[in-house]
Amino acid sequence: MQTPLLSFLLVVVASFIGSFGAVFLKAGSKNLKSNLRSLLTNYKLAIGGILFVVSSLFFVKAISQPGAELSVLYPMVSMSYLWAMIWSRLFFQEPFTRQKFAGLGLIILGIAILQFGKQA
């Protein structure tokens, strides 16, 4: 049984949502201190956590499909780097660089190669 197309689509959605989780985590980690109170009152961190949970629900759905291979689907989560690069520029004014394009190109190539590795 082959990893179904639905699984791939669900992982794309999961990585998209999860990348927003990372944005909130980054924003929230700025004023984080080593005490429980600052951890619990940090709403950005909480939103980030919720987005990660929602994202992982899509991922669980993806790997729950019959024939879904974890070893193919999990590395596809690296697609979140693509989203992260876009959001980093939009929200944190981090510039696009040749280095980032090169890294991202390799990641996308790796994801493409993985598709040949799925069970026939």
Partner: protein
């Protein structure tokens, strides 16, 4: 404690460097622990997926032990990661974080008897090299001002 360290560091550059290095080592170990916890969470998610089937009800999901355990690991890993990232740039941790792909691949083969083949290994290796390139220290970009 942090403030005290910062004060000493400002007065003695050498000590500041030492302090930064030990802090960095601690963060590296913390992130490495996160990758192991994160990979463990993925295995639990897959176990939950196998137990629940393709279209579980929300109640079934909430009551599924491996899913709950997976979320606990995932949560602990995320909180630890956010602590590690407080002091270090995320991108400098990328190569270590991408080790999660390796752990998950090995665990998938070992635990779920998925096939290991050339394309899977090459795909993960290429993805990891891409992640590493993303995390390279200021090669082609201008360094930011300040710390």
């Amino acid at each position: 404690m942090m403030n005290l360290c910062d004060l000493i560091g400002r007065q003695y550059q050498n000590e500041e460097r030492n302090y930064r290095m030990s802090r960095r080592r601690k963060n590296l170990l913390l992130v490495l622990a996160c990758t192991l916890l994160g990979a463990g969470a993925q295995v639990l998610f897959k176990m939950a997926g196998l137990a629940l089937g393709p279209s579980p009800s929300p109640l079934q999901m909430v009551l599924c032990p491996p899913l709950i355990a997976g979320y606990v690991l995932y949560g602990v890993s995320t909180v630890l990661l956010s602590f590690a990232l407080r002091n270090d740039e995320l991108s400098s941790m990328y190569p270590i974080i991408s080790l999660t792909y390796v752990w998950v691949m090995f665990l998938s083969v070992w635990y779920f008897h998925e096939t290991l083949n050339f394309f899977k290994v090459l795909g993960v290796a290429v993805i990891m090299s891409g992640v590493a390139v993303l995390g390279l220290p200021d090669g082609w970009r201008k360094p930011k001002d300040g710390v």
